[in-house]
């Protein structure tokens, strides 16, 4: 069923799948989203307005979409996932930079999201490299 033959990549993608789902549920479901924002943010006042709720849910649905994409990556030949994996590397890199900046500014109280985004960037880069999909590599 799984078409990717490199076991390390399968493990890394599976872990990424679980964590994307975790972040999806954390943002989509209201009670979790409030607790999450209270835990990580220095500026959140505990009041979940309708606008904020909609925006946070949207973030959650993006995580859900990425989780579905990672699942698809696992069950198709690696060549079909090349662009998606490159997007994941770029997206996780940009996210890591933003999270580092937030943490340095003091807006992010808990470093966990920053650490996870950096680990995500490293993990997706390793997968891209191990599958021979990075730019310049002959498939």
């Amino acid at each position: 069923m799984i078409k990717i033959e490199d076991n390390v990549s399968v493990v890394l993608l599976s872990i990424a799948l679980v964590f994307n789902l975790m972040y999806a549920f954390m943002h989509i479901f209201d009670p979790f989203a409030v607790l999450f924002l209270e835990g990580i943010s220095s500026s959140f006042n505990g009041e979940m307005t309708a606008d904020l709720d909609a925006m946070v849910s949207n973030v959650g649905w993006f995580f859900m979409i990425f989780a579905i994409g990672i699942l698809m990556t696992l069950i198709v030949p690696k060549e079909e996932s090349a662009v998606f994996l490159r997007v994941l590397v770029v997206a996780s890199f940009i996210t890591s930079i933003r999270m580092i900046a937030y943490y340095m500014e003091g807006q992010l109280v808990d470093p966990a999201p920053m650490i996870l985004s950096i680990l995500g960037f490293i993990g997706f880069s390793v997968v891209l490299r191990r599958l021979g999909l990075n730019k310049g590599t002959t498939l």
């Binding site: 069923m1 799984i2 399968v10 599976s14 799948l17 679980v18 964590f19 789902l21 975790m22 999806a24 549920f25 954390m26 989509i28 479901f29 979790f32 607790l35 999450f36 835990g39 966990a112």
Partner: protein, 266 residues
């Protein structure tokens, strides 16, 4: 699609999938709207907790339809889903008898899903007699066998535990209260538990089944993610139901082990 040219099978499974998708979306992600459809439902934490749970169960059913869409119609899927949905009908009828009958939409749609699944199963042209596999679970992989036996034991323990502590899911969780409606939801989950045991016994006899193992993993990945969310947001391990978290974690380990050891043969 479904690796068959039979339009009736394709349409039946598509519509059954649509029903699963509808309930997955509405119960898991628009719980308030769902509760509003039932005037006798209390919009409390216990009911919301169980309704989301039932919604996620529907995602698992839907994943089986997707699996068959790519891999072909699979007998194991029906061995699990038909009893699960028939028991759901019994469960809904019991709920309607208690409430006096405030909304029949769910009952009609679940009956429709059973009809659609049954028609698709009959159109498969495969026997209803299930030949015994050469070895238990149909594999010689000791680790995978251990994981599948582990799943069976775990599900049996969960079933037996229900009879000793029917409201355990609420009593063991400090965020929930024991209510009459909550008790009925717990009964519904026990009905699903029975269907899972039927599916595992089917695999014990006829050999492991790709659709069922994949559906099991989909369910466990979702619930494992929620366990992680709870740990992350509760800032500790003592603000939830540790027994449930343990059962989900064990189930996840068994399910993932069976899947990754056997997936090359699906």
């Amino acid at each position: 699609m479904f690796k068959t040219d039979d339009r009736v099978t394709q349409i039946c499974l598509f519509l059954a999938g649509l029903i699963f998708m509808f309930y997955a979306g509405i119960m898991a992600f628009n719980t308030g709207f769902f509760i509003d459809r039932y005037p006798t439902f209390d919009n409390d934490a216990t009911n919301r907790y169980f309704i989301v749970w039932f919604g996620l169960n529907n995602i698992m059913f839907l994943s089986g339809i997707y699996y068959m869409g790519y891999k072909g119609v699979n007998r194991g899927f029906f061995v699990f889903t038909v009893p699960a949905q028939v028991l759901t009908i019994v469960w809904i009828v019991m709920a309607l008898m208690r409430s006096g009958g405030d909304n029949y939409t769910g009952l009609i749609l679940v009956i429709l899903s059973v009809v659609l699944l049954t028609v698709a199963r009959f159109r498969m042209n495969e026997p209803f007699s299930y030949t015994k596999a050469d070895t238990a679970w149909g594999t010689n992989d000791g680790v995978a066998k251990g994981a599948l036996y582990g799943s069976l034991i775990l599900q049996t323990v969960i079933l037996v535990t229900y009879f000793f502590q029917p409201n355990g899911l609420m009593e063991n969780n400090p965020n929930l209260e024991v209510t009459e409606q909550g008790s009925h939801f717990a009964l519904g989950l026990t009905f699903l538990n029975v269907a899972v045991i039927i599916a595992l016994l089917f695999q014990l006899r006829t050999g492991f089944n790709g659709a069922l193992i994949t559906m099991g993993l989909v369910w466990h990945v979702m619930f494992m993610s929620i366990v992680l969310v709870n740990i992350a947001t509760a800032e500790g391990l003592d603000n939830g139901d540790p027994l449930l978290a343990l059962a989900i974690t064990l189930g996840f380990i068994f399910s993932a082990t069976a899947f990754f050891r056997l997936q090359k043969q699906f």
